[in-house]
Amino acid sequence: MSDLAIRAVQLSKQYRIGAAKYRHNTLRDQLADGVKSLFRLRNRRKRDKNTIWALKDVSFEVKQGEVLGIIGLNGAGKSTLLKLLSRITEPTEGRAEIYGRVGSLLEVGTGFSFELTGRENIYLNGAILGMKKAEIERKFGEIVEFSELEKFIETPLKHYSSGMYVRLAFAVAAHLDPDILLIDEVLSVGDLSFQRKCMQHAKRLQKRNATVLVVSHNMFSIKALCERVIYLSQGRIRVDGSPAEAIELYERESRLHIAPWAQRVVGGEQDRQGIYVTDMQLLDESGHRRSVFDYGDRMRVRIRFNAVEKILSPNFNVSFIRSDNVACCNYNTAMDGVTISCVFGEGSIELLTPPLKLTAELYTAHVMVWDDKYERLYSAQVGDTFHVRHDVLNTHFGVFHESAEWLGVPDGDKASRMKMSGGVER
């Protein structure tokens, strides 16, 4: 009890969904209801049908100094949980007890004003995050140094590039020194070197015995930072335990889920459009399932699908997305001259890639089904992750590397003969 940082007991949050939030016939009704709500003591919303539970009966305890990861698909309730613990919104049921000063990083650069300079925004953002003026003044030099923006600190923010913006925002956020820190996926913003900096900072937080809750989609960061992970699914805790355990279940349950970027077009889990992929396997050339490939290996991607409607001219796409969300390469049937007139019912197709040219990193295979003119997206699903291995070629070399021809190569023998004779050879 004495070293507790957070205790959550049956935390639940209900949201009203849809546009028909408050259907009133006349302005008089609206006003009457507004006045009534001043005196309404009990919450009547639970009886409405157009509601969902973003969080239901979430209970857990966090000790001081613990680093807890929270994972789950989009819509699982992770951000809602952080919002509740930050007191930005209130729970519908349940309670939480917080022992210590809370700092929330739900977004980088909250409250940044584009008309003000970098310096002014440091003060503004710091105050918004909860730092006192004296504290900001004390840390000002460190913040500017961390952001690497000394030359631009007096320039208005509207002239900053997006990278500079993020660096400044994170520099301020990094100097927030609360007892309990809540972070919502801010680690996944920015380029690779910046992310590495964020990682180092997160490790420093660990040493300072701060309690940290991290929400992330990046399993890599979660595994690196957290000693304990909670896996949330549809508002409930599925696993509360070791990172390996939680991540394993998460990856198993989220196989082939709809990619977040496509959810608006294609729909959520429930409403699929016409055709969806039921299985996807990554194999080596000889047909064995693998998760690690060497640079230069050929990969087989075996796709099984189910077309509940008759789909004309489908175009199967496989894309490889790097662990920092950069799309690296794409293979598709339409551009490879493969014409499929139509599909209906269950079926399968296999992709055999040319030798892989991707640099050594962690990638996720996404599979999409478009029509052959890229006008209509039927499905976009996230498949398995795999590693590409190479002794030398890491991502500093770029996204990919391939062999090429070199012309006009200097003659090594001629050069060494010149040196020995001490003069120009004619």
Binding site: P91, G100, P156
Partner: protein, 303 residues
């Protein structure tokens, strides 16, 4: 075991002593630990202590508004003087000259300006605070602080403009050779009345605007009407006696009267009007605070 702990904390007021981490916020007193998060019931109490704790944020929000307002303008702060002066000129020409509105024995320009001054502050304060929550919607969704701070900052920021324009008024008084009366000492009181009115109206409007965006569109129109319902361009003496009490329901009537009386020395300040105004403002403010706190629960979800 969890249920036991639950029951225990529900019934007792103070948790037992524990090793509280040293305050990492420059020695300022922290809120009593633990902070308990749970669905709020009944009327919410006004947490003045929390607002005091976040006073620096209030300062920064006001500072931001003031700084940004005149960024990249050529004449900068001079706009704070230019605008009321222009208004005075137009009023003098239209109402003073063409319509021949009486001005309580004072030169019309200064008669008008003395009222335009507090009126401008009020209309700016209402407009800014009415929009304030929606303008800073991203703050509502991503950061915690007492939400009352946002309309409060919106009501405080036009004070800077007001002070600039006040200097001009003093200049005008010298020019016209008018000395202030003893009533000038009460000027801060009248200004405070204007500020409370603006805050009260702002609380109602901003809270409503979050859910019903019509309010945002309606504000300029309402403010416009309000000006004509206030004795800015004309004196209260023009209002028929039998309507005087209803007229007094407008708190700004009291404020304008007070300003004219204190600065320009009118013979008959209408204390009846002023008294009614003060009562109305207090009622508006208290009800506004209650309404705002009720609606505050759902701001982050609805904005």
């Amino acid at each position: 075991m969890l249920a036991e702990g639950f029951v225990r904390f529900e019934s007792t007021a103070k948790p037992e002593a524990r090793s509280i981490p040293p305050p990492s916020n420059d020695g300022e007193a922290v809120e009593a630990l633990p902070i308990v998060i749970r669905p709020s019931t009944g009327f919410l109490h006004l947490d003045l202590r929390a607002i005091w704790q976040y006073r620096e944020l209030l300062y920064f929000l006001v500072w931001r508004e003031v700084k940004v307002r005149y960024k990249q303008t050529v004449i900068g702060m001079a706009w704070a003087i230019f605008q009321p002066l222009m208004m005075m000129v137009i009023f003098t020409v239209i109402f003073g000259r063409f319509a021949n509105i009486p001005s309580d024995g004072l030169p019309y320009p200064i008669f008008a300006y003395a009222a335009i001054l507090p009126w401008n502050y009020f209309s700016e304060a209402v407009a800014r605070s009415g929009r304030s929550l929606v303008t800073d919607a991203n703050l509502l969704r991503k950061v915690y602080f007492p939400r009352l701070i946002i309309p409060m900052a919106a009501v405080l920021s036009p004070i800077v403009d007001f002070l600039f324009a006040l200097v001009v008024l003093f200049g005008m008084m010298v020019w016209f050779g008018i000395a202030p009366t003893r009533g000038a000492a009460a000027l801060p009181v009248f200004f405070f009345l204007a500020m409370c009115t603006a805050l009260a109206v702002g609380l109602w409007l901003s809270a409503l605007n979050v859910r019903y965006r019509d309010i945002g569109h309606v504000i300029p129109f309402v403010v416009q009407l309000w000006m004509y319902a206030s004795p800015v361009a004309y004196p209260v003496s023009m209002v028929p006696e039998n309507l005087r009490v209803i007229y007094g329901l407008n708190p700004i009537a009291g404020v304008v009267e007070g300003f004219r009386w204190g600065l320009l020395g009118k013979d008959n300040p209408d204390f009846q009007v002023i008294a009614v105004s003060a009562v109305i403002v207090m009622a508006l403010l208290v009800s506004g605070l209650i309404f705002f706190k009720q609606m505050e629960r759902t701001f982050a979800d609805v904005v």
